[in-house]
């Protein structure tokens, strides 16, 4: 009967632990916190003992559930520790981006297709129907109506458009990332949007299109951040997908996990860029500021990105020793 007495003796402790688990941690008083720790350790020991002494399966099951419950009460989720932000954003992330082949591939695809589509869309005499075929006559009409009036005159319309674009373009970017593990949809989406944007830019640059001036005055300021962000998030998606294929000697699953870890800094930077683009798009692009301020902003933001990617990202001797798990 010794085990029976033991269970009887421990039962009260288990039930009080169970009752403590019912309360949210924030409502524990100091004594309860101390008591919880002691009770949890005791329950762990009891579980170990219950298995050794071969107690009744129901009792063992009860203890498994009790320990699992207290375990998730005791160890709770880590938020981003503020002290690591700086290191993550200014060391880990730019270096990860600089050295990543997927980023290069995504940039070549996106900006390559963008430039080609822009040239084809602009060269009216050589490819008269290219822009119309890509964008569709309806879309072109919509653009022409949208950018018919000069900027400061209809702030509201532009602000509306800006909000719509923030959502639309950020969604494109994040979709490119989310579809990354499947690789092909990301490539298609990236190329498709590059063509679409390129053709729009090319069409608006035609000398015969009067709305072009308003269009460029609107897009100049935020274009840099936004286009870079789309390419970056697609790069992060590709990084995930490549994990399936180029395993580098790991199991496919481990390689996928490892590549997801590598993709995280890239996608975080693209989220920051989307946010900057959104701010620019909301407050600078549609505003009545003179055009040269917007151009200056675009130049400044490209310089900033260059500095971020190339100077902060340039591999130094200690970059090998910087633990990628430092965050």
């Amino acid at each position: 009967m010794r085990t029976a007495e033991l269970v009887e003796q421990r039962r009260k402790a288990w039930i009080s632990l169970d009752e403590l688990c019912e309360l949210p941690v924030s409502r524990w008083n100091p004594e309860q916190s101390i008591r919880f720790a002691a009770l949890y350790r005791a329950a762990c020991t009891d579980l170990a003992m219950a298995e050794q002494l071969k107690l009744a399966p129901a009792t063992v099951e009860y203890l498994h559930r009790l320990v699992a419950r207290s375990h998730s009460k005791l160890y709770s989720s880590n938020t981003f520790p503020v002290s690591r932000w700086h290191h993550f954003m200014f060391q880990t992330a730019p270096r990860a981006i600089f050295s990543d082949v997927c980023v290069r591939v995504a940039f070549y695809i996106f900006f390559g297709m963008f430039s080609v589509a822009a040239i084809l869309g602009w060269a009216e005499s050589l490819f008269p129907n290219f822009a119309e075929n890509i964008l569709g006559a309806e879309q072109i009409n919509a653009y022409e109506r949208m950018y018919a009036a000069p900027l400061p005159g209809n702030f509201n319309t532009y602000a509306m458009q800006a909000a719509k674009y923030i959502r639309h373009n950020t969604s494109i970017g994040l979709e490119c990332f989310a579809l990354g593990p499947l690789i092909l949809p990301t490539l298609v989406k990236l190329a498709y949007n590059a063509m679409l944007l390129g053709a729009t830019f090319g069409y608006m640059a035609r000398s015969g299109v009067s709305q072009g001036n308003n269009f460029f005055e609107f897009v100049t300021a935020h274009g840099v951040f936004e286009l870079t962000a789309i390419a970056l998030s697609a790069a992060a998606g590709l990084r995930l997908g490549v994990g399936w294929i180029a395993t580098g000697g790991l199991t496919r699953m481990d390689s996928f996990l490892k590549n997801a870890e590598k993709a995280l800094p890239i996608v975080m930077v693209s989220v920051v860029l989307f946010f900057l683009a959104a701010l620019t798009e909301g407050f600078i692009s549609p505003s009545a500021l003179p055009y040269w301020v917007k151009i200056l902003w675009a130049v400044a933001s490209s310089t900033l990105l260059m500095f971020y990617f190339c100077v902060l990202g340039y591999p130094t001797e200690d970059s090998q020793s910087v633990s990628s798990k430092g965050y």
């Binding site: 169970d18 107690l55 399966p57 989720s77 602000a159 994040l174 593990p181 996928f256 997801a260 996608v267």
Partner: protein
């Protein structure tokens, strides 16, 4: 059996690497069992029960409703704020608020809640689920980011109504969630793509649970116990099977009990030295009682004084 680890780190012990788990309770050694074993820093190994697609769908659906509710709430806020025309929320600004709000709810809802609520969203809270790392530790904000940003990939491939009929209304993005279902079926911990990338799994979050009341107070059982041959020993697997029967027998009808019990008891009565005419159900209860002496006593809270926590 408890494996003592020298290093004090939480780590998962995959079930297939643990042949000694055959001594574990409740028949957990079968590969079909939906549990994940976790080694705690306290050097104790315990099990989490994993959640599969059918448990996770209601949580997903509830989260969808919560997000929809939040959007409707925001819409009415914008609408009401616009009525007196004091605030410039009605027109442009209101629309901007709605669009940006939609974007935030759409992409950052799961990330936000899983980080601050320790791996739970409102939907998961309601359906009793929690996301944890595969090593049993709580989810980190990084993991929450990866698994939530990848949700769209999990909902692929997308169907459209045009696939069925050319005249159908233009609905192009119907998520079929084929990727996540395939992923959950193929992985042992039933992870979706985002879980695989983030190294997380979804477990059933234990609420308070008491083992079933066994009701073994029948004096016939007590009479039967001493009749069993003192040298009679049942194998570990057999006694566990018997335990699984006895712990569940309250939910069975009398006929069903007799059917099941006679299957188990048939071969044992003779070597145990009890007459073969003994009721098989009572015989199994007696074996259970003999093996686990009195610790079958129920573990519910009713007879413990409250307020002593």
């Amino acid at each position: 059996m408890i494996r003592c680890q020298t290093e004090c780190s939480s780590r998962i012990a995959a079930q297939d690497q643990l042949p000694e788990r055959s001594t574990h309770a409740m028949g957990a050694q079968t590969p079909l069992d939906l549990t994940a074993t976790v080694m705690t820093p306290e050097n104790v190994q315990f099990e989490y029960r994993l959640a599969g697609p059918f448990r996770r769908f209601p949580a997903f659906f509830l989260d969808l409703l919560v997000r929809l509710g939040a959007m409707v709430g925001l819409f009415f806020f914008v609408l009401c704020a616009g009525i007196p025309n004091y605030l410039p929320l009605a027109g442009t600004l209101g629309t901007i608020l709605l669009i940006v709000g939609y974007f935030l709810f759409d992409w950052f809802y799961g990330l936000f809640f899983e980080t601050i609520w320790n791996g739970k969203t409102p939907g998961k809270y309601a359906s009793g689920l929690r996301v944890i790392s595969i090593d049993g530790r709580p989810i980190s904000a990084y993991q929450a980011t990866i698994r939530n940003f990848l949700r769209l990939g999990d909902l692929a491939p997308f169907a459209s109504l045009q696939m069925f009929s050319a005249e159908a209304p233009p609905v192009y993005w119907i998520p079929t969630a084929g990727v996540s279902i395939a992923c959950m079926l193929l992985t042992r911990r039933m992870q979706r793509l985002g879980d695989l990338a983030a190294g997380t799994m979804v477990v059933i979050d234990q609420r308070t649970w008491a083992p079933p009341k066994l009701k073994l107070n029948d004096p016939a059982i007590d009479q039967l116990v001493p009749q069993i041959n003192a040298n009679f020993r049942v194998s570990r697997t057999m006694i566990r099977t018997i335990a699984m029967y006895v712990e569940r027998r309250n939910g069975l009808t009398l006929n069903k009990r007799r059917d099941l019990a006679s299957l188990l008891a048939g071969a044992l009565t003779e070597s145990a030295g009890v007459p073969s005419s003994t009721d098989p159900d009572l015989f199994l209860c007696a074996l259970y009682k003999r093996e686990y002496d009195a610790n079958w006593k129920s573990l519910d809270k009713t007879d413990v004084p409250k307020g002593k926590v």
